[in-house]
Assembly symmetry: C2
């Protein structure tokens, strides 16, 4: 940030009164320009023991598999954002079932929210940001070709829930408590 | 937004290629200025059957009671933001126990996250944004003087969990599944 978006004057970097962090402040109109983390919302679109994944057509991580997800817009809820991204990236309609994971990614100023969802039909079409869509059996996920660490964690948590909570009837049961976790930068990972 | 924060040129409002919503776009440097919802993070600081509330010293809702909460900063997780706000507004140290509520407030472009927490000491001090701090018995909350609808929903959900899940030993048990809800504008409320 170089210029005030309100009045166009060059901004200064300083700690405002009663604050504790440096902010971009306009010496002309006194506006303080706060910067805040952004929310990425997405779904785990399930159909029985299969899950829909999208192969990315855009950077970063072109050609890798991801869950449908993207930046939340203003004037929508996190559920609406997750459903919209599933529609835009995969042309797939889903019913939201539960919050699955809240993954903090502070080093890139993002919070990733994934909802477990049920695919309502099989008429999906790859969107402009998607090369290919595939239904993967949960037992056969493309672990070596996943796009992002948060996608990996969300899928690992899904399988862990499935493995530990198989009902006597063989019905798949998923975790009721969402995964809450902070993901460190790649360099800090074991 | 009137001016580009990167180059200082006046911005235009239009729908960029491959997009579906109008954005502020700079005709000089081509930067697209996205606007995103902000996260408010806070805690329900509990001590047995009592909860800490703060009486607000600042607008909006001066003099009304609230849970310690505020805008999440970059470079922190949602848990860190919740603990920091509890420290700044109440001088209180807490241990985070669980995600309690994720409340979408799309008409003001916010997502409110409340964590259930345990007060670690009783040495609280009102911060600059707080007039007064009090430990309220859960049976005697100031329902008519609460600052915000999300605070009310978070407290209602706490009590509902407490009421339905009292263990045989009389130990208080709280909900394991977080409340996920979208709050409508005041004019649309029943
Ligand atoms: Zn200015
Ligand atoms: Zn520009």
């Amino acid at each position: 940030m170089n210029f005030c978006s309100v009045c166009g004057h060059p901004v200064e970097r300083k700690i405002p009164p009663l604050d504790h962090l440096p902010r971009y402040v306009c010496p002309n109109c006194a506006t303080i320009h706060y910067e805040n983390p952004r929310i990425v919302a997405g779904t785990l679109p399930l159909r029985g023991n299969q899950i829909l994944l999208c192969r990315r057509a855009i950077a970063p991580r072109i050609g890798y598999w991801t869950l449908p997800a993207g930046f939340m817009e203003c004037n929508e809820s996190t559920l609406e954002a997750a459903m919209r991204e599933t529609w835009e990236e995969a042309g797939a309609r889903v019913r939201i079932d539960a919050l699955h994971a809240l993954l903090d990614v502070p080093h890139i100023h993002q919070v990733h929210l994934f909802y477990r969802a049920t695919l309502l039909d099989l008429d999906w079409v790859p969107g402009a940001e998607t090369l290919e869509i595939r239904l993967f059996p949960l037992s056969c996920l493309p672990w070596d070709e996943l796009a992002f660490p948060t996608v990996r964690r969300a899928l690992e948590y899904l399988l862990r829930g499935e493995a530990t909570a198989l009902s006597p009837q063989g019905t798949t049961r998923y975790p009721t408590v969402p995964l809450i976790e902070t993901l460190p930068p790649r360099s800090a990972r074991p």
